[in-house]
């Protein structure tokens, strides 16, 4: 029952990149790939392929456009295999640099081969801890300098990585300067997750807290669920064996805010249980995920507040940067829709918000905009990279007259595609925000369009069918003394109402074509919806070893709030 029988990696064009067999005789990658691809998207992570020999359970993950496949011929724990695949991807990323690319794997097959051999032994997963692997396999850069291959690219993921992808799992700026003979590190580290003999010239520690919003708003604007999924990523570049204490704080008390935490094995659970908010740990070297948690932004009483009849005034306040609402079945034939985006004034970059002057903002169209050049203070968080997706039913054929009626941005829709995308760049957002002076209700932007469905091609779809049937029966036209008296009635019933109902019918038909939700994606730097912040990060000098006395590492903290199509508003 070996777990891992083989590992296949394919690049973004599905050309095989790597095929590594561990155990047994699994079906080859070339037979598995077409079977995998023949499965309709979105493909589940576990596919059963009875047609191969032996019948195969095919596990798959996609990371950075690379496809990882692992076949299994017998029943194993599916999550074990999937977790393993994720670890493989993470380790490769750690070694080869942040975006994992086909070319990087291709130019480092030797390192990859060593890693794959270390990670699984005879089908049993043996060692996946990145730091432990560092002790066993040298990073490619070292190997390169040994070989003197100057022409090869260094594995640093270029200048792009630190700036554009500050939250990549790979060690941000490529391999940090590691002194000391990492090759000669034969000694095993006393801490299983930490390399032995870590030396850094400059000692640095970074905490990145990222919260991913997951909000669902009902058609009335009432939040049904609002959860922030938090992840604390830690980057430790500290010599020796440091013992760190990270103190998290939150306005309402940390234990009330955080629920369902998950920790890296290095975190001392007892300490957390005794004193919630304090994470005491010996970090692995490099970048790792220290903890994960979630915060229910609505609080436990959310359900009590939920009734169908309450008015908008009593809506529980939810402090999120942007919401959107969709208004459907507008216009004479009910085929128009309108999407309204509302940006929270807190994120304009202004510190004080004057009281709301008028409610005209609700209507969207009538409100007058006072143009002003008030630039917000830089300390206030601002929304960046906003995208609104409006998924459409598959029966929609085209969208006519798609335009941003108010506000800015760039809306796009390709006929036949499944959703409308409305992008608003950071610059445009700040312009929008600056227009809202004194409104205090934030600012709005509106997108409108008209749906065209398949039925509009053959004018009135449902009525047509009825007449067709009646015609075909009419051709029989038999004479029956008895039945003839009834005969006239049925044929007449659909006809008279037809013209009167046609509008109603079209409205109804168009109703099916309406979008049912819209999602917003954005990111906000320097702000967390949960309000959690790092109170302190200290090195426990007494417990730490190998860090010279008096050395205080440089510390950095970053907050980021993101939504990846996860603020959803229904209609």
């Amino acid at each position: 029952m070996s777990t891992i029988e083989a590992l296949f990696i394919f690049d973004e064009h599905n050309t095989p990149l790597l095929e590594h067999t561990y155990n047994g005789r699994p079906a080859s990658g070339s037979t598995l790939l077409p079977l995998y691809l023949s499965h309709p998207t979105p493909r589940p992570s576990l596919i059963y392929l009875p047609s191969t020999n032996p019948a195969t359970l095919l596990y798959s993950i996609v990371q950075d456009q690379l496809l990882f496949l692992a076949p299994c011929s017998s029943d194993t724990q599916p999550l074990q295999v999937l977790e393993f695949l994720h670890r493989v991807a993470d380790v490769l990323e750690d070694y080869l640099g942040a975006p994992l690319l086909a070319s990087k794997i291709e130019s480092n097959y030797d390192v990859v081969a060593q890693l794959l051999n270390e990670m699984v032994d005879g089908g049993i997963i043996s060692c996946t801890e990145p730091n432990a692997l560092r002790d066993l396999v040298d990073a490619p850069s070292l190997m390169k300098s040994l070989l003197g291959n100057v022409g090869l690219p260094s594995t640093t993921p270029s200048s792009l990585a630190p700036s554009a992808t500050p939250f990549s799992l790979g060690r941000g700026g490529g391999p940090s300067p590691r002194l000391g003979p990492s090759n000669a590190a034969q000694s095993t580290s006393p801490v299983p997750w930490r390399r032995a003999n870590v030396r850094h010239t400059s000692n640095e520690m970074y905490v990145d807290i990222v919260e991913t919003l997951s909000v669902t708003l009902s058609p009335s604007g009432r939040p049904l669920s609002a959860i922030a999924n938090g992840t604390i990523a830690f980057t430790a570049k500290v010599s020796g064996i440091p013992d760190l204490i990270l103190h998290l704080g939150c306005p309402g008390g940390i234990s009330n805010a955080i629920s369902l935490p998950v920790f890296h094995p290095c975190v001392r659970l007892n300490r957390w249980k005794e004193r919630p908010g304090q994470l005491s740990f010996v970090p692995p070297d490099g970048r790792f995920v220290l903890a994960g948690y979630e915060v229910d932004l609505l609080g436990p009483s959310a359900l009590d507040a939920f009734t169908t009849s309450t008015t908008k005034q009593s809506l529980p306040s939810l402090n999120i940067p942007a919401t959107v609402s969709v208004h459907t079945s507008l216009g004479p034939s009910g085929s128009d829709f309108q999407v309204r985006l509302q940006l929270n004034p807190r994120f304009t970059g202004k510190s004080s918000a004057p009281p709301p002057s008028s409610a005209s903002g609700r209507g969207g169209l009538g409100s007058r905009i006072a143009a002003g050049g008030g630039a917000g203070t830089s300390t206030a968080p601002a929304i960046e990279e906003m995208t609104i997706h409006i998924p459409l039913p598959s029966s929609v054929h085209n969208i006519l007259d798609l335009r941003v009626a108010r506000g800015m941005g760039d809306a796009s829709y390709a006929p036949g595609s499944a959703s409308i995308e409305w992008r608003i760049s950071s610059r445009e957002i700040s312009m929008l925000m600056s227009q809202d002076r004194g409104g205090g209700v934030g600012c709005h932007a509106t997108l409108s369009g008209t749906v065209v469905g398949a039925q509009d091609d053959d004018e009135n779809g449902a009525g047509f069918d009825d007449t067709a049937v009646s015609l075909s029966t009419a051709t029989y036209n038999y004479d029956d003394d008895q039945a003839s008296s009834y005969q006239s009635a049925p044929t007449s019933t659909p006809q008279p109402s037809n013209s009167a109902q046609v509008d109603e019918k079209r409205r109804k038909a168009n109703k099916i074509l309406m979008p049912s939700a819209a999602t917003v994606s954005f990111s906000v730097k320097g702000w967390l919806p949960s309000g959690i912040k790092v109170e302190s990060l200290n090195v426990d000098q007494k417990k730490s070893k190998g860090l010279g006395g008096g050395v205080t590492p440089y510390k950095g903290v970053k907050y980021l709030c993101v939504s990846r199509r996860s603020v959803e508003c229904r209609c």
Binding site: L79, D90, P153, G292, S470, Q482, P494
Partner: protein, 844 residues
Amino acid sequence: MHPSNFAHWSLSTARDLTLEAARDASNARKTSTRPLPSAQLKKLLDSRSERDVLEGLRRVITMSYRQPPSQTLPFFSHVIKNVASPSLTVKKLVYICLLQHAEHEPDTALLSINTIQKSLTDQNPQLRALALRVMSGIRVPVISQIVSLGIKRGAGDMSPNVRRAAALAIPKCYRLDPNTEPQLLEYLSTLLGDKQYFVTGAAVAAFLEICPDRLDLIHPYYRSLVRKLADMDEWGQLATLQLMMVYSRKCFPRRTRKVKKASANSNTNAKSTKPTKGFYDSESEEEEDEDEEDEQDFEEVAVLDPDLELLLKSCLSLLQSRNAAVVIAVARAYLYLGTPAYVSLAIGPLVSLLRSAGDIQHIVLYNIVQVCLSHPEPFVKYYTHFLVRSIDAPHIWRLKLELLTLIFPHAQPRLQSLILAELSHFSHSGSLDPALVKESVRAIGRCSQSPATSPQTSARCLRLLLKHIGSADAHLVAESLEVIRHLIQRNPDAHRTTVVRLAKHLDAATSPQARASIIWLVGEFAGLDPENNIAADVLRILAKGFADEAEPAKLQIMLLAAKVYIHHLHANPPPSPTKQEEPPEPSASVLDMPEEEGGFRDAHLENPPPIEPLQKESPHQIEALYSYVLALTRYDTSYDLRDRARVYKSLLSLPSSTQLASLLLLAPKPVPHIPSPSETRKNYVLGSASLVIGDEGGVGGLRGYEDLPPWVKDGKEPDPSLRDEAPSSTYVSAHEVAKNMSASERLDAAAQVDSGRQRMLETIPSYRTSNGVGGVEKPAQKEKTLDDWLAESSGSEETDDDEEEEEEEEEDEEEDDDDDDESEEESEYETESESGDENDRLVK
């Protein structure tokens, strides 16, 4: 925080990726992947320069990953030549080639065995481990004995890494030659008792691989394994939990005990505050029990064996693991081994797994549904996690909807209405996916069906469904009616008015399927309340528009007519003599007519019979209606319709003998039961792949699926004293306790004592520590192994002194700057274990 999740934000925009790719491709692809002429490559491999050899090896490995093995085989012998290279880097690469090609050229591969064997005694533990791994990985059966010897040596090695490699080599050796099993089991049992947690993890995995049934090997190590559980790496934890599942089922009989039921209040208290308290004293038992059998004063409560209890408690910290598989494995242990109180502990962590990446989320949802089927209540408070989002893939929302319906009966009324609102949103909004519409309508049906649902809620569900009938979405209407039909059939008496309401909706319903469904329902209830039944009336109206109906509806109208008629006959049995003579004629004509002649002549012959009675005694309207419909169908374009008409006609041709007809038409319909979709998977074990695949993988699970063993019968279990650890002094057990601390705790302790001391504790060869004060049995074992080893390796010039020296070196290497003396170390032990004890208590 599951790392996978984390990796997702690293997914920089596609543009960045492509930019990077372009930049990388421009210089990288050319240099290293361009193939070299084979002669030149061979020259590189044969070179004396290490750099050239490395370059050559890299190229061979690159080739082997990109091309079939036949391409790289010519270089194999050149590669093998380098196996004796002093450079570790070269060795590693040679080993990789060796593993890949050994099977294709066993003879060449054998040439390297000697050198590898030498590496087994190398000073560098990393190389020893590597050599052992490679040697066992070469799939050439001839060398099985050599591998077995290598494992033996490795199992007694002082470096834990080598011991782990030995453990992992055991299944490989077994695969090479199953005859080596007895020796291998011996090594394995040594390794299972290893002090190093990451050795035991590998040993357990090996055990599961070669002899999962030899539970007798586990008994002596059960407690130490359980204690090491928290410290093992994730994969070791998984293997151990899997082993313990089977072990516990087979070794701890399920004892129950009648306990007086505690009040509900104390129940909830117990659940929330002290779920892990010992269950032995009667007090906690009383508190612990779940309110399963409310009607009884006494209820059965599981009494857990102390050893089982130990296992369940040590799992507790694993619930915070970052590895989803581990969390599921713990949940599995709690579900199948523990009590409901334990299960409720695992619910939160299970739900937290939904934060992870989509692929993991999918599998996790299957597992959550499985737990939820048996324990729905604790999931209620996590309802926000189960709300369907527009970005969810079909396989995700399907399971989420199921979860919502599963928790529905246990939710408070407000939540129930929220769930219903949610479901109706997805059912009527012109949804993105017709399948979603369908599924949410079904979900509404399941909600209203569940026994715990109050009548009002049920009625509300029905109202929601009735609203859909007029929709323009054919899927929605058809599905809604299907569900309504099920609801009505389950409780016909309560739904008499519903049928009337449905009939009213006939005007609104346009889809033929929907109309057919309604008509069928009306017909089905035609006999319920003869005095004021609407069936006949409905039939009258339908008959008017018969010509405009689609075929499915026509079929049902026909059926309705037959049913109404037969009910009519039952209600007013015809005066037998007069009627009985007449009908045979028309029936005869029915039977032979259509084949002979078609069209209008038929009509002439056919029509008279219905007319005649009508003229004779001005028949009841129902009879007239029936014959009218019959006449209509007789000339329909559809064969099917005409055939059926004929069947009904002949069935009902004799108004006095309706037995056969009522048997056919009025047969009681089985009440449809729509179980939760996952009910079919209910028998699969949590966490297995079969659970995800379901019966598609063949009934009884996929290949290699193992069902849960039944609990061992009381009295048949192995003697608990088998699990007693070696009759050792307190010292050993204290040491064990120290081992039980998590690595971080141990680090704490180490820092308290003095730097470096701790590491020594771990790395000191086990036999040496036990020589110090104490364990009696294990040291003896170890010494024996050492003796054996020495006896066997007398060939290779090693003496005890060498051994000692090596050991010293070992330690020197591993602890950079510590010189140790035995006595101090011991005193250290004491404090060590004490503080460990403290910590341990804190854990609990």
